[in-house]
């Protein structure tokens, strides 16, 4: 690492670094818009931009399989689930003035303090560390598949059991009781199908 630090200047960024910073700025801006916008559906759409930007960051870090998993799962299913949740709870279209609660200054102070402290610590700790992105990609599908099914098989199988439990739990939680009226059964089966 010391040898790498001597060969790379701090103020001479490479092309990958410039791309990383630009995409990072877009990602951070979209994240800030997600937590500050007053239109609930727009928050979900800004979340798409933030998560897509993170997928590009994974690609720049040569973790391509993680990037495509991010696109598939987060952009494909999580955001769609969030949008369905917004529709099923009859979220108001347009600006809702009560999107932020009353403890907004406290939240701003806590987040600002945490950001300042963590940025200071992280920058101080990793000032002379460089990621070597040369050579073969470390996160290609070949590599990730090999290590996942060679060294991480047991956690992988345990995770499938957890996913099954989450599926069953979501269905049980979101269905209505059997003695209830049949008026809401159509929308109920829709939400179950979405799980």
């Amino acid at each position: 690492m010391n040898l790498a630090a001597t060969t790379q200047g701090f103020l001479s960024p490479t092309g990958v670094e410039i791309a990383f910073i630009l995409v990072g700025l877009v990602t951070l801006g979209a994240a800030v818009m997600t937590v500050t916008t007053r239109q609930l559906v727009h928050a979900a759409l800004w979340l798409v931009v933030a998560l897509g930007g993170l997928a590009v960051e994974y690609l720049l870090l040569t973790a391509e399989f993680i990037a495509w998993v991010q696109v598939l799962i987060y952009l494909g299913s999580v955001v769609v689930l969030l949008l369905f949740g917004l529709m099923l709870t009859k979220a108001p279209i347009g600006r809702s003035p009560d999107a932020d609660s009353g403890n907004r200054p406290v939240a701003l102070a806590v987040a600002g303090t945490a950001a300042a402290a963590l940025v200071w610590v992280v920058v101080d700790a990793f000032r002379t560390s460089w990621i070597d992105l040369d050579g073969p990609a470390q996160g290609s599908t070949d590599t990730v598949g090999a290590i996942l099914f060679r060294h991480w098989v047991l956690p992988f199988e345990a995770l499938s059991v957890l996913l099954l439990a989450a599926l069953v739990g979501a269905i049980v939680l979101s269905r209505k009781h059997a003695k209830g009226s049949e008026t809401g059964s159509a929308t109920d089966s829709d939400s179950e199908g979405e799980r």
């Binding site: 994240a31 928050a43 933030a50 960051e57 689930l81 932020d100 460089w130």
Partner: protein
Amino acid sequence: MHLAYPAVLSVLLFCTGLYGVLARRNAILVLMSVELMLNAVNLNLVAFDVWLRDALHSGQALTLFTIAIAAAEIGIGLSIVLMVYRNRGSSDVDRLRDTAEGPDDDSSDDPDAAAPAQRTQKAEATA
């Protein structure tokens, strides 16, 4: 690439999500902020995995597990929010104060004065 760039971006994303969790009122927006925090952790895991050149690639494996657990979490969380919305007619986390203890909590003084509609809602929620 300088390691500080992904680390600082991850810190800022995490603190953005922290602000969202604390400041938002709608439960689904709180879940979106939780997703932002989880993604900040994922970026950290991937960056340090690539930096350390781990033979087992623990960072990327844990990132995949985190993504799967986040998908499970969002499914369970949304079904809980839907159930709360069905029982209460609102997904406003500031109004879910039934189990809160505070100076403005006067329901413990005279439990008989509570509205019967509210009590049936509680019965539905516990059923």
